[in-house]
Symmetry: C2
Subunit: 445 residues, 2 copies
Amino acid sequence: MEKPTKITSVSVKDIRFPTSLQKDGSDAMHKAPDYSCPYVAIVTDTGLAGYGTTFTVGRGNHIVCCAVEAFEKQLVGQALSDIFNDFGSFWQSLVSEDQMRWLGPEKGVIHLATAAIVNALWDLWAKIEKKPLWKLLVDMEPEKLVSTIDFRHMTDTLTKEEAIDILKKMQSGKQEREKELLEKGFPAYTTSCGWLGYSDEKIKKLATEALAEGWTRFKMKVGADVKDDCRRAKIFRETVGSDCLLMVDANQRWEVQEAIDWMKQMAEYKILFIEEPTNPDDVMGHATIAEALKPVGIGVATGEMCQNRVMFKQFLKAGAMQYCQIDACRLGGVNECVAVILLAAKYKVPVCPHAGGVALCELVQHLSMFDFVAVSGSMENRMIEFADHLHEHMLAPVVLKGGRYQAPQTPGYVVGMHDKSLADFEYPNGAEWQRMFKEGLFQPE
Amino acid sequence: MEKPTKITSVSVKDIRFPTSLQKDGSDAMHKAPDYSCPYVAIVTDTGLAGYGTTFTVGRGNHIVCCAVEAFEKQLVGQALSDIFNDFGSFWQSLVSEDQMRWLGPEKGVIHLATAAIVNALWDLWAKIEKKPLWKLLVDMEPEKLVSTIDFRHMTDTLTKEEAIDILKKMQSGKQEREKELLEKGFPAYTTSCGWLGYSDEKIKKLATEALAEGWTRFKMKVGADVKDDCRRAKIFRETVGSDCLLMVDANQRWEVQEAIDWMKQMAEYKILFIEEPTNPDDVMGHATIAEALKPVGIGVATGEMCQNRVMFKQFLKAGAMQYCQIDACRLGGVNECVAVILLAAKYKVPVCPHAGGVALCELVQHLSMFDFVAVSGSMENRMIEFADHLHEHMLAPVVLKGGRYQAPQTPGYVVGMHDKSLADFEYPNGAEWQRMFKEGLFQPE
C-alpha cells in the first residue's frame, strides 16, 4: 500500500499592500483601505505546497494570522486522503473545534482564517489532480462533491439529496457548456472606474477607456451624498450609454428607509442592483428594501459580508437578495461556497461573486465557472466583479478579454504569489514597508 | 478649568482557568471548555483603573487579546469626558474603524474585544461616579443614557425618540422599585446542577442541595440523546417537584425539525423554555421552532451567541425569541446591551441574561437590575442565570441569597480580579499553568 501524503507544516505570512496611498478601494465605509491578506502555505511530506488567502483591508490582518496559527494542530500530521475522502466531516471538525467555535461560531475572524486554510487544502487537491479548481469541481461525481459539504443547520432548506439532485439534473450538456466557457470566457463587470474617492474627471476617463476595451458592465460606489451619486451616475450613463449595465454599491451605509428613498432618486439612471444598502446581518431589512424597489426595477445584491450558509439560506428564503454575492474568503472556503451556490440554484437567484481585493478575482472565477457548467447552466444575469489591482503579484493572474474572465488552465486554486512580492510586502519587515516607514508614508503600528 | 482625565494605557492579560478537568461547563457543543477571559485594564493619568473582560472557553483566548491590542491606539490619549459626553459616537467610532470593521463587522472576535474594552470604560465611569453600574444607569437622565447608544441600523425598529419615551414612562415608581430590589434581590436560576457531563447521581445530589438553599429555578443541558434527556428531566422533576421552573439548553445542537420533535418528547416535564435549539444565526429557523412549540407551552430562548443589536432586532420582530438572553460580553458592552434591553421592552419580551463563565454573573446582574428599575419595571418571567464557578477570583463576587442576586454596592462594573488569581492563571506563564504543564495535566499550546 502506498504511504498517504501527510501535512507537515502550516505557516502564515501577514501580507499588506499600501493601496490607501491611491484611494483605490475607497467606499462609503472604508475610506483608506490597505488591501491585505494572511498568506497561508500548507506543505506536505512530498514537498507539494498548497496556498490559501483571505482578504482584509489592513489593520487587523495579523489578528487573522493569529487565528490561522491556532488551527495548526488540527492540520499537521493529517493525511490528505483522509481529509478529501470525507471533506464535509473534516470541514465540520474545523469549524466545530470545541473551544475555538465560541469565538464565532462560523463568522468573523475565525471564519476568515478557516477560509484561508480550507482554500489552501483545495489548492493542494487541485494541484494533485493537475486541474484548475473549476475543472476539479466540474468533473467530480455529484455524490463526491456533495460529500464535501457540511449540511448542519441547512437541512430545513437544502438536504443532501436535493443537492445531489440539482447536480445530477445538470449532468447533461456539461461538455457543451465547458466548451462554451473555454471559448467565450465568463462575463465580468468592473468596479475600477467608480471608487468613491475618484474625481468626476477620473471616472469619465476610466469609463471611456474601459468601454473601449470592451467592458459593458460597470459598478460605482455610492452613499456619501445623494446629489453627488446622481451626478456621478449621470456621468456614467452619458459615457457608457443606455445599454450597458450599471450597478451601485453603498457598502452598508444606510438605514432601511434611507436606502429606499435614496435609490428611488437614482432609478432614472437604470440601476440593475443596489449592493449592500444596509447592515449585512439584516435579512428582514434587505427584504423590505427589495420589496420597495421592485416597482422601480432595482434589485438588491449582497453577500460579501454575509458570514455563512445559515445567513445565506435566510436571505434567499426571504427574497432579500436578487443577486447572490458570495465571497471566496468570507465563507469558509470552497466547501461552503459550493453549498451556497446550490442554495442559490434552488431559489433561482444568480450568483455574482464579490471580487477585487487581494486574490479574490483569481479565486471566485473558479466558483462562477463551476456554477455555469455544473449547477445553474446559465450565464444570464451572472457576472464576476473585477478590479484591476494587485494582479501582478499573483503567480497565475486572471486573464480578461473584452470584459470577460478567460477560464484559467493552471492547476490549483489560489495557486500562489511571487516570492519577491511576499518579501517586499510582508508586514512590517518587508523591504517595501521598511522603505515606506523610512520615507514617512506610514507609521509602523 | 480642570485638566480632563486622560487614558494613559490599555493592557490585556490572557487569563484561563482549567475548568475542563472537572467537566464544569460541558454541553452538547463544548465538551471540555477551559473558562477564560482576556482581562483588560484601562489606566488613566489620575491612576484610576477600569477593568473589562470578555468570556471565551479556552483555546483562542489569545486571538481576542490580540484584537484588544489592535484597539489601543484609538483609546490612549483620549479624555474620559470626551468619551462619556457622547459615548454613542465614540462606540460607533470603535466598531466602525476604517480597516478593523472588515473583520466583523460587529461580530465574533472583534466584537468580543470591543466588549472587553467598552466594559472597562463603564467600570471607570461607575468608579468615578462612586456607584455600582446598575445605579449609574438607573440614575442617568433618559436623554443622557440614550446618547450612549449607536442607533445605526436599528432605526427601522427603535428610534432614539422611542427609546427616550420608554425610559421616561418608567420614571415614576423608580424609587419604589429600587427599594424592592435592595430588599429582595433579583431572581436567579441555576445551571450548576445539570451539566451534560454530570452523572444522574450527581444531578440528583446537586438539585437536592440547591432546593434546600432556596433555589426554585433550574436549567439542564440537553441534546446528546433524547432518552438520556428525558431520564434526566424526570430526575429533576422528581427532585425539585412540579412547581419549580425547569429550563433546558441544547447549545445549538439541532436542525430545525429535530428541535421541534425532540422538545415535543420532553413537553411532559413542563419545560419553560428551550435555549439555543439550533444555529444562533437562524432567525427564521427559531421562528419556526417557536411557532411549533407554542401549543405545548415551551418558549424559545436564545441570545448568548447573538452577535449584535441587528440580529436581536430581527429575532424580536420575528417572534423568534420568547426569552432574550443578552450576554454582557458578546454584545459590544453596556451601550449595546442597553439598546437590546430597550428593544426587548418594546416587544414585551423578558430579558434573562446569559451568565456563568468568567465574570458574566458579576456583569449581567447590573443589566437586569437596571432593566427592572428603569425599563421593564417587572421581575415577572425575568431571571439571571447562575453558575457557581470561579467567583472566588473576583474582587467583588456576586452575592446570592435564597436563589436571588443581591444588588451589588461596590462602585464599578466588573470591578476587577485578585492579583494572585491573575498571577496564577495567566496563560501560559502563570504559576498554576506552569504547575499543570509540569504535572502533565495540560500540554502547552
